[in-house]
Symmetry: C2
Subunit: 252 residues, 2 copies
């Protein structure tokens, strides 16, 4: 049965979409069957994969009980796309009885078809991030080691705890992935030490850190994953290592 992983952090621009795409691709290159779900009304994940203004999209499954629309974006590599239309579901899901459970219901039938389902969350602790945390077996937090990292992560952990205590008792934290890391910067080295000091007692920080790498920016403009665009780049190496570390955890 698929592991369902929410890629979450309400801080903006910390590599959630980049991680959903490239960790997902790394897993599929390892032979796993992977589904990516775009749960952000900005639809960046869908756009990067060349799926613009999808006729059938996630919101239709959430609101109309239709099956989740799935687009193939590679071998054993699928996408459930979104665009701005998803925003229409915000109020409705918030007000509906059990609205936050809809995503979980929508994907339950798919857990036999995939090994990993990764959910790209928006930069908000809103109904969509909540839905992802409810639907997930675990969550992975992307973290850029800069000023807002620590305060943000505490609020995020509170929300995860709430979801786990009240709704989804099996939710675990896969770990924290440090992203956009530039080891030449003192501020990053200092923040990395600070974060490890504060967080390691309670949570895993992946050894694999995603270094700042221009190939990751270029690959998105080329609408490709990093392995297709530049398989020997630091971005590819780092995401492959993250996938290996994640799946080792699965084996044990």
């Amino acid at each position: 049965k698929a592991k369902v992983i929410a890629i979450a952090n309400h801080k903006g621009g910390v590599g959630k979409t980049t991680t959903t795409l490239n960790l997902g691709k790394a897993l599929s290159l390892q032979g796993y069957r992977v589904l990516l779900i775009d749960l952000d009304s900005q639809g960046n994940l869908s756009q990067v994969l060349g799926v613009e203004e999808p006729q059938k999209q996630v919101v239709h499954a959430l609101l109309k009980n239709e099956p989740l629309p799935i687009v193939s974006v590679g071998t054993d590599f699928d996408l459930a796309p979104s665009d701005l239309e998803l925003a229409n579901a915000d109020l409705e899901l918030v007000q509906a009885v059990g609205g936050v459970n809809q995503l979980k219901n929508v994907i339950s039938g798919l857990r036999s078809t995939y090994d990993y389902i990764l959910i790209d969350c928006p930069p908000a602790l809103n109904i969509f991030t909540n839905s992802a945390l409810v639907a997930a077996t675990s969550c992975l937090i992307t973290l850029q080691p800069e000023a807002s990292a620590m305060k943000g992560i505490n609020n995020l952990f509170e929300r995860i705890t709430q979801v786990r205590d009240r709704i989804n008792h099996e939710l675990t934290v896969e770990g924290i992935v440090l992203t956009l890391v530039d080891k030449r910067l003192n501020v990053h080295r200092d923040m990395l030490n600070y974060i490890r000091g504060k967080v390691l007692t309670n949570f895993t920080i992946f050894n694999a850190e995603i270094r700042l790498n221009v190939a990751l920016k270029e690959s998105q403009i080329a609408q490709q994953d990093i392995f297709t665009y530049a398989k020997d780049s630091h971005g590819a190496v780092d995401y492959r290592n993250l996938a290996l570390e994640l799946t080792k955890q699965r084996v044990k």
Copy 2:
């Protein structure tokens, strides 16, 4: 009467908070009276200014008709702070009659006390960004020249047009500020040309570009604006130039 400027972009991590803080400080150093409003429930602007978990905050003014709470953070440099409590107002403002007008009502009495009121928006086209666009005389869009820039900006312009046509007829676009610019990167130079080609027919792009500068990251960890932290840094130079360009526009 104060110019009210919404610093907006629903894309995450593109320098909205960094711009609100440092453009605001640059304006106050020029002698203008400046109020910053933190309209993001993540409260990054408030945190960077050392205002954590404010007892009195923006949400109280929006929901309870109290006066906007104001904290002095410098000479003629004030802040109306927020933290996660602001999120409680989301649903209530969406459902309330005229909820989106509340911020405008709250600040109308303050427009005689300040020359500039800058509003830091969250990474979402939600009730808070809408409220800022309704309260504003103009908006300033921060834009990182990477993959999601163009698609995002089109959605943002649609929202601005809607607000202007239906609610706030005086709303103008001050212009686009390119942020986190690293001129050494081909991808940034290419995206800059692409954006200018697509956008310049309709909108101003400020000549002042905010370069990627580690001093800006460090200053936020030190909880200082860039002029206090490193007045000769590229970050300080760029934000001072942005302020000069903005105020030249005011004079003409």
